[in-house]
Every structure is written in structure tokens, then in C-alpha cells.
Amino acid sequence: MSRRPVEIVASAVEEYGSGREAVLQILTRVNGELGYIPEEAMKAVAAAVGVSDAEVYGVVSFYSFLSVKPRGRNIIRICDTVTCGMKGFKDVVAAIEEELGVGVGETTPDGRVSLETTSCLGLCDQAPAMLVNDTPYIRLTPEEARRIVAGLE
């Protein structure tokens, strides 16, 4: 059973402290455990650290790996930058969209997968590339991408 957002914040504060420098670590912990950072968690972080709610939200909004909305159990981040763009990003993303039945920026109704684009992953030499959760996939073809996506739990 998953812990309540404020409990996660409390335990992260215990571990990382309540200084401003701990904000990102606390938020990363919440995001890792829940897949997103709910409003009450942001407020709890703000209260623990002694900054405003708006400041915590500003931090969350800056990082694309942190989210204020629930996302799928798996997150696909496919690179849309120049090299991947030239090496077939369009076909790969179309194949994934078809496989999932949702578009970029959306989550499958069963909460299995969220599909997002991202800026350069640093894998230009092995384009096109995508990140599924924490695992990079490279030299993608539409077929390969379909297979990977279909295998996600």
C-alpha cells in the first residue's frame, strides 16, 4: 500500500533535512513514489522548508521529470530534437501513438503509459532515441518501438 503524500514528505525531510537545498530531493522522492507531486505534498514541502507554496510549484514546474498531474505507471520520453528528428522520430512517435491509442502529452485510460516528448537525451549518435522510465532505447524503428511499448506492464 502506498504512503500518503505528507508521510512521504515527512520521511524525506527526516532524511534530507528542511533546508532550501533539500527541496529538490524531497520532491524527487515524492515524484518517484507516487509518479507525481500532489498539491498537498507541495504544500507540505513549503511548510517544512519555510518557503511559499508558489516557490515549490516554481521548482516543480521547472523540471520536466517532476509532474503536478498523475501520470501513467510507465513514462515514455521520446526525443524530438534535431538529430532524432532527422533519423525518423516522426515515424517512431506515430507508431507508439497508434500502439497506445493516445497522443503525446496523454496517458492511456488504464494508467499504464504516459507519452511525452523531451529535448535532447544526449544519444544523438544512436538516434532516434527514447527513455522509458529510466531505461534508454536507441536506434529505434517503428516496429521496435511498438514491441517495447507493448511489453510495458
Partner: protein, 591 residues
């Protein structure tokens, strides 16, 4: 710090080590354009307008954040500098909504002024202004991010001056914007509506929620009896808003408002004096109950309640300290409640047809009048609130030649003012006015200060303290204070209020009475006052207010003859039944 030698545009001079290039240039009388810089705020260095050339440096220096070094050679308008500044301006303008005629800040916009000064007529950068996005949800403050240049002056104002911090930079890269927690409306976050962000915005991204249209409609409606009240600080701000220098202009302001076609021009000063009576007696009552009766419900220190930004702040941040706040309504709301009862009867007007308009140096007053408890006359006590800037706009629209106007007087019944009421407009003024009255009520003598000027509570220090010792001989009923010392404190700017209230909450201080104003400098620096508002301008407005006080015949609130008449004919006594019904209020804890 020792002095060092720097050369600015070929002229060598000695300056204090540690100051910035910008400060050195200001001392030298050399103008450097700035946008993100504001003398009230910390340095950001993000707009890049103030770039200067430093000999031997590979890149241009950001003047506002770069300290001078010995023998530094600075050039402020080399070809490289001019080119860079023009590029910075063009890039800012490329994403800026440059529909200037439709902007509240047209002709009073720092970006517009710089574009003109730098002769930006053609912008080779493809323009892609952000979409217009009016946010009009909150009663006091509106935002349009399409005019925002991301200088973060508002963000720093909200956090540094006010400890409110409800606006922040949100997002990243070209998607970054100034926003709130979860992008909510300012009415859904703990914004105090003080409007200090408006005063520091270099463009028109922040402005007041205007009620000019509604006021014109009321003036033109023959059924309506329009009653205007003017706050103390407006009379020293209005001339600035009309393009003149800071000046006391009470008489001309009254003439101008009358010229708009309203039925009565009256003075919030009248209810400021009334506030002093009610609040003074409330303080005496609390002192007696706390010190003599041992009544634990008599909470000290008592704080003032005139500033609606302060009230909203304490409701959000210190709900546990709400019992410390005086139950007196602000002068604006006392005025509204009396206008639609006492004045309506005096004038023989049906209060249902009366429209009560306030001219305020304040945007939080627009919020205050909407509070559900502000209907004790049976109607909405105050219908519309205009800022000093909005009044100036109406005067200009009506084609009134302000400078040539004769000085006129306020109308009767609620138009009389004392010097004590005028100084409500400056930090420390309510305290000074209260002491002038409370001391005399209890001792029968005037406050022991030369010319009634209680100088220890004056000035611009963020928090000021003073102590006033009562004589051994007090008037009947006030013997309990004989020889006792009254400890008072004054804070302005909500960050200072926070520092003070933290001490109160921790029990570290032993004050009896505290004056708090939400805005730096008090109301004269309010969010509805002319732009710019900075330390120099605040000083001039404060001088004008103290001059007005010194020039008035009555200097003490209890000497106001119309207030005396009000008590004799209507209220009967301070803190009496009618007062409680019309002039006192309650507060709401908010999270």
C-alpha cells in the same frame, strides 16, 4: 570602505569601494538604462539593459550587479554598448505585447520610454507577442502576462518587501511566466491585494482592477447621489499622477472631483479622526481590563486595523493573533457605513440611491469593500474604489486643467479634517494621532512633544519603537496608568510586520499598541499611488503630509468639530451601541 579611483566616460573620480558600476554612474550623473533594477529591491541582473563597456574586459559588464574595481575604465555609450542595448530592447519588444494605446501604463512605461530613448523604430526580430491574457478574478489586481518582460520586480517585491511570495517564476525557457501556486487566480492564493507589485512593474503587466466606468455611470445617472471620500495620502499623490511634481494639493483635488459632477466631496480624514476616537477608547478599555481587572480576554498589544493589506496578511499568516487586532473598521469602511446612515439622513437622501465612491492610494481597499461583513448600513457600505491613478485618469478624461483650478473646500457633515487624520497617510501617523488624543483624554494635557510632533514614531526605519510615560496625575478614571509607561511600535511593509509579529507571538516584546501599514512608507507608498514610487518619492510625499498636518487649524482628532457633532447627535459615545453596529467589525482566519 576606502575610496578608489574609476574613470567613467573619460572622467576620473573617486568613489567608495564596493559600490556597483551603476551606483558609481548615478553618483557621477551618468544615466544608465535599467529595467530589472529597483532601489527598493535586491539585485537581479536579468534584463541586461544596463550593459557597459569596461576596458580590458572581453564581454560587457552588467552595471547593476558588478562592483567597481580600482582604476576601472568604464564607457557607457560605446558602439558596442549601444548595439547591445538596442538588441536587448528589440528582443524584449519582440515578445512584448506592444499595443501601447490600449495599455494602462501608456506614457508611463519604462520599456516604452527606453524604446523611445534608444530610437527603436524598426525591429528586425520576428515579433511573436505572447497572447493577451487578462486575469481579472481578484478585486484589486489584474495581470496581463503578454506585457510582462520577466524582470521579476514583482516577484521580489512580493517576497522581499511583503513576505507574501505568492508570485514566482514558473516553467522554464521560453515558457517561463510569472505565476502563482498551480497557476491559480490571485483571489485563490494568499495575496494581500496590496498592489506593491503594480507600483514596481516597469510595464503594464500588473494594474488595478478598474472601476472608472462604473463611477462615470453613477455620476451620469440622475437617480444617484454620488458621495466621494478621499484618503489622506491621495492629496499628496494626485499631482504626481497628473504629471506634476509632488505637492500638497487638497483644495485643487476637491475642485477637480467636484468638477467631475459628483454630488458631495467628503473626506476620509473625517473617519480617520473618528477611528482615532474609537480605537483610542478601545486601547484604553483593553489596558484597563488587562492591567486592572486581570481580564484575559483583553489582549495586548493591540494592533491597528486601517490597512486592508495588513488585515488580509494577518488573517492568512497569524490567525492566532487576530484577537490582537483592533475591532475598528478602517476609515474607508467607517465612512461608507456612516454615509448611508448618518449622512443620508442629514442630506435627506434615500441611502438606496446613494453611491459611495472612495479615492484611495490602495488596491487592497477594492478588496476590503467587497468583504461580506462590510454592509452594516443595510447596503454595500462602499460601492466603488478608485486609486489615485484612476482619479487622475478621470480628471484628464474630463479635460480638467488641474493646475489652474481654484482651491475648494470639502462639503459639510463629513468633510472636516485634522492634522492628526492627514498623517494617517504616512507610516507612524496613526500612532502619532492616537497618542495625541489618548494622552490628552487621560491626562487632560497635550502630549509632551514640541508642537505635537511625536518625532520618535516618525521616519522610514522599518520598525520603530517609542515609549511614553504618563504623569503621576491622571484624570478621573485613568489613575491606573499614573506613572506607567506605554510601549508602542510601528512597522511598515509586511516583511517588517512579520518580523514584529513573530516577536509578539513568541512573547519577546512588551508593547501595548502597534501600528502596522502593509506598504513601505505607509499609505503614501500604497499600491494605488502614482508610479514610480521609490525612497526619494516617498520622502517627498511624507514631507508634504507633515506640512499639511502643521498647516491645519485642528491637529488632534478629538478636536474635529464634525466628529464632535457626530457623537453628540448620532453615536452618543465612543464604543457605544451605534458604534459597535456601524464602526466595528470581526476578522476571518484564512489558511
Amino acid at each position: 570602505m576606502p575610496n578608489i579611483s574609476v574613470t567613467i566616460n573619460g572622467v576620473t573620480r573617486s568613489v567608495r569601494e564596493g559600490i556597483t558600476i551603476l551606483e558609481a554612474c548615478q553618483i557621477a550623473g551618468v544615466d544608465i538604462p535599467t529595467l530589472c533594477y529597483h532601489p527598493d529591491l535586491s539585485l537581479a541582473g536579468n534584463c541586461r539593459m544596463c550593459l557597459v563597456d569596461v576596458e580590458g574586459w572581453r564581454t560587457l559588464a552588467v552595471a547593476c550587479v558588478t562592483p567597481v574595481t580600482p582604476n576601472m575604465k568604464i564607457r557607457t555609450h560605446s558602439k558596442k554598448v549601444r548595439h547591445a542595448r538596442r538588441t536587448v530592447l528589440k528582443l524584449l519588444l519582440a515578445s512584448h505585447n506592444s499595443n501601447c494605446p490600449e495599455c494602462e501604463r501608456n506614457k508611463n512605461c519604462e520599456l516604452q520610454e527606453l524604446a523611445e530613448k534608444h530610437n527603436i523604430t524598426i525591429n528586425e526580430f520576428q515579433t511573436s507577442p505572447k497572447p493577451v491574457s487578462f486575469e481579472e478574478a481578484s478585486p484589486g489586481i489584474m495581470r496581463d502576462n503578454s506585457r510582462c518582460i520577466m524582470c521579476t520586480r514583482c516577484v521580489r517585491t512580493c517576497e522581499e518587501l511583503q513576505s507574501v511570495a505568492v508570485i514566482k517564476s514558473v516553467g522554464r525557457s521560453h515558457r517561463v511566466k510569472i505565476s502563482t501556486f498551480l497557476d491559480r487566480g490571485l483571489n485563490e492564493v494568499p495575496c494581500t491585494q496590496c498592489g506593491q507589485c503594480i507600483n514596481r512593474c516597469p510595464t503594464g503587466a500588473l494594474f488595478e482592477t478598474s472601476e472608472i466606468r462604473q463611477v462615470w455611470e453613477a455620476i451620469e445617472d440622475p437617480e444617484k447621489f454620488v458621495v466621494v471620500q478621499t484618503a489622506p495620502a491621495v492629496r499628496v499623490g494626485i499631482s504626481e499622477a497628473l504629471g506634476f511634481s509632488t505637492a500638497r494639493s487638497t483644495g485643487k483635488m476637491v475642485a477637480a472631483i467636484r468638477g467631475l459632477g459628483v454630488e458631495r466631496v467628503l473626506d476620509t480624514d473625517f473617519t480617520a479622526d473618528l477611528t482615532i476616537i474609537e480605537e483610542g477608547y478601545e486601547l484604553i478599555d483593553r489596558l484597563k481590563r488587562a492591567l486592572v481587572d486581570g481580564d484575559e480576554t483583553a489582549v495586548l498589544p493591540m494592533t491597528t486595523s486601517c490597512s486592508p493589506g495588513w488585515i488580509k496578511f494577518i488573517e492568512h499568516k497569524y490567525p492566532d493573533l487576530l484577537p490582537n487586532v483592533s475591532s475598528c473598521k478602517s476609515p474607508q469602511q467607517m465612512f461608507g457605513a456612516l454615509a448611508k446612515t448618518y449622512l443620508a439622513a442629514k442630506e435627506g437622501v434615500d441611502p438606496a440611491n446613494m453611491v459611495c465612491v472612495s479615492i484611495m492610494p490602495c488596491t487592497a481597499k477594492k478588496y476590503e469593500k467587497e468583504r461580506p461583513e462590510m454592509r452594516s448600513s443595510g447596503f454595500k457600505d462602499v460601492d466603488y474604489v478608485l486609486t489615485t491613478r484612476e482619479l487622475a485618469s478621470m480628471i484628464q478624461e474630463a479635460g480638467i486643467d488641474f493646475k489652474e483650478l481654484p482651491e475648494e473646500k470639502y462639503d459639510r457633515w463629513m468633510g472636516e479634517s485634522t492634522g492628526a487624520a492627514v498623517i494617517f497617510g504616512v507610516t507612524g501617523g496613526v500612532m502619532e494621532a492616537a497618542l495625541r488624543t489618548a494622552y490628552e483624554v487621560m491626562t487632560g494635557q497635550e502630549v509632551p512633544f514640541d508642537g505635537l510632533n511625536i518625532t520618535p514614531v516618525r521616519g522610514m526605519e522599518g520598525i520603530r519603537e517609542a515609549a511614553l510615560t504618563f504623569p503621576d496625575k491622571m484624570l478621573n478614571g485613568y489613575e491606573f496608568l499614573a506613572g506607567k509607561t506605554l510601549n508602542v511600535a510601528v512597522a511598515h511593509g509586511l516583511s517588517n510586520a512579520e518580523r514584529l509579529m513573530d516577536k509578539v507571538r513568541a512573547g519577546e516584546v512588551d508593547y501595548h499598541f502597534i501600528e502596522i501599514m502593509a506598504c513601505t512608507g505607509g499609505c503614501l507608498g500604497g499600491g494605488g499611488q502614482p508610479i514610480p514610487t521609490n525612497p526619494e518619492v516617498r520622502k517627498k510625499r511624507a514631507e508634504a503630509i507633515y506640512d499639511e498636518d502643521a498647516a491645519l487649524h485642528f491637529r488632534k482628532s478629538h478636536a474635529n468639530p464634525e466628529v464632535q457633532l457626530l457623537y453628540a447627535e448620532f453615536l452618543k459615545e465612543p464604543l457605544g451601541h451605534k458604534s459597535h453596529e456601524l464602526l466595528h467589525t470581526t476578522y476571518t482566519p484564512r489558511n
